[in-house]
């Protein structure tokens, strides 16, 4: 369906069973470089299992995870990763939280710090570099967590409901912010959400998943033009796509 010449990540028949539960039925999926792919589905559909397999935290029962042609199955250190919980460490300043991933693998250099400061200034947190996370709001904390993910220099960013805990207003701001950063940096994003609006607003492509067993039920192209804004939410294409995704999610639950 999609030309494979620019494939960044590929799942080949990756599956995972916990006890009697098929968390993820054998699944194949190819993610193109530079794309923004949303994965939407109710809890228990295997989306987080899929993420943990891609991140290398879980060894799949079968199949391969391939990044740029090289297998990375069950090995860590190849992707950026961000959860709903910001997981900022309270004992480090914003600047030091941004460089946390580096600090966990090697000594942090002045260049690393300079980059952290540059990214923070560029994306609206320059005044908070020496603040501790406890002084920041939820939205600001998620921005810091995203910057921390960004400076890992991984091409593939896994974002697991990063805005799930934010209020609606802040969430919309964060979505627009994320699209701006994504456009600037040209990374590939795999974005988990159970919010259909969010999945459509952000993505180039929507992968719909369903539980029992966790599996992919649809893979939809998103035709909406960029840049997107609040107006996007009212376009006929948006409404049509939303109806389709909702139908898929509900059709499976009946």
């Amino acid at each position: 369906m999609v030309p494979v010449s620019t494939t960044l990540l590929e799942l080949r028949e990756v599956g995972k069973v916990f006890g009697d539960t098929v968390a993820l039925a054998p699944t194949s999926l190819a993610i193109e470089e530079g794309s923004f792919v949303a994965i939407v589905g109710p809890s228990g559909c295997g989306k987080s299992t899929m993420f943990n397999v891609i991140a290398g935290l879980l060894r799949p029962d079968g199949g391969d995870v391939v990044l740029r042609g090289a297998p990375i199955t069950a090995s860590t250190g190849h992707v950026g990763y961000m959860l709903q919980k910001d997981l900022l460490v309270p004992w480090r300043t914003v600047e030091d939280n941004i460089t946390m991933a580096t600090r966990l693998t090697r000594r942090v250099t002045d260049e690393d710090r300079a980059e952290a400061r540059r990214v923070a200034h560029q994306y609206g947190l320059g005044e908070f570099l020496r603040h501790y996370p406890s002084a920041l709001s939820g939205g600001m904390r998620q921005r810091v967590a995203f910057m921390r993910t960004l400076v890992t220099h991984q091409e593939l960013l896994l974002l697991d409901e990063p805005f799930g805990a934010l209020d609606a207003q802040t969430r919309l701001e964060m979505q627009e912010w994320l699209l701006r950063v994504w456009k600037d940096t040209g990374r590939t994003v795999l974005f988990i959400t159970h919010d259909v609006d969010e999945s459509i607003f952000l993505s180039d492509r929507i992968v719909v998943m369903s539980p029992r067993p966790g599996r992919v039920v649809a893979d939809l192209a998103n035709p909406l033009a960029r840049p997107r804004g609040i107006h996007t939410l009212l376009e006929p294409d948006f409404i049509a796509l939303k109806a389709k995704v909702l139908g898929l999610l509900h059709g499976e639950e009946a």
Partner: protein, 268 residues
């Protein structure tokens, strides 16, 4: 800032003065005989008038306390880490540690004297014996409650176990670690005094007090007790100061400017 200092330092001092006031009132009001309870001033004078005799003894007690405490804290931390990291060790060692704490230390002291003789060693051992336990238990607890998502995040980044330990697990456990260290600090002097009672051939603060007691010098008995208490409180406050100094994020929202070379402050 000034207001906070007043609140944090002034109020505790006031409460201690209040205790002295009540003491004074009770002794005077109920006509308590001075061989049962002296007035606060008499107790304090009994110390200041004998200062040149007492000071070396106080230094001795402080020395035993510090050595025993440092060994106990390091040992307690190491034991907590090993037990947290190796479950078999935890199952093997935990019962032994519990038994060690169930043994009444006072009963233990003569045994230690038999084994280790007089001198400073048995006193240090007793202090260590008392101090390591709260440290171990709290470190074990702290390391066991580090957010698993945070540890997973470190794994995703490709962090080694050592770096995860140093950068994530230890700092995440500072609060329980300091709880253990503070409990240990307040009990450490008790250990030193018990050791001195059982194992002093020459002079010690504990023997000085016993001597005063047998001479019916009640003021000196009270005075010595106050001195011992003050050593314990001073040590406790020192540990609190260390905690305050090493965990600035618990009180501040903005970090102080760092002195690290090249770290240069951000231009707002």
């Amino acid at each position: 800032m000034r207001r906070r200092v007043l609140l944090n330092v002034g109020v505790p001092i006031l409460s201690l003065l209040l205790v002295l006031g009540v003491w004074q009132l009770v002794v005077v009001g109920f006509h308590v005989a001075s061989y049962i309870a002296p007035r606060p001033r008499e107790a304090i004078t009994s110390v200041t008038s004998q200062w040149s005799t007492l000071w070396p003894l106080i230094l001795g007690t402080i020395r035993e306390t510090i050595y025993g405490y440092l060994i106990g804290a390091v040992l307690g931390f190491a034991l907590g880490v090993v037990m947290a990291k190796i479950p078999v060790v935890q199952r093997l060692v935990y019962p032994v540690i519990l038994v060690s704490q169930a043994v009444p230390v006072i009963a233990l002291a003569p045994v230690l004297v038999i084994i280790l003789g007089f001198g400073i060693v048995p006193k240090i051992v007793i202090v260590t014996w008392i101090v390591f336990f709260p440290v171990t238990v709290n470190v074990l607890d702290g390391l066991g409650h580090v957010d698993p998502d945070l540890k997973n995040l470190a794994r995703v980044y490709g962090a080694s176990r050592w770096r995860t330990f140093v950068q994530i697990e230890v700092p995440a456990s500072t609060t329980p670690l300091f709880s253990g260290l503070k409990i240990g600090a307040i009990y450490a002097v008790t250990g030193a005094i018990i050791g001195e009672l059982a194992a002093s051939e020459g002079n010690s603060l504990a023997l000085y007090q016993e001597h005063a007691n047998s001479n019916l010098n009640t003021a000196a008995v009270y005075g010595t007790t106050i001195v011992m208490t003050l050593i314990g409180i001073a040590w406790f406050l020192l540990v609190v100061a260390l905690e305050v100094w090493s965990t600035p994020w618990q009180r501040r929202s903005v970090a102080r400017r760092r002195w690290r070379r090249g770290a240069g402050g951000a231009a707002g």
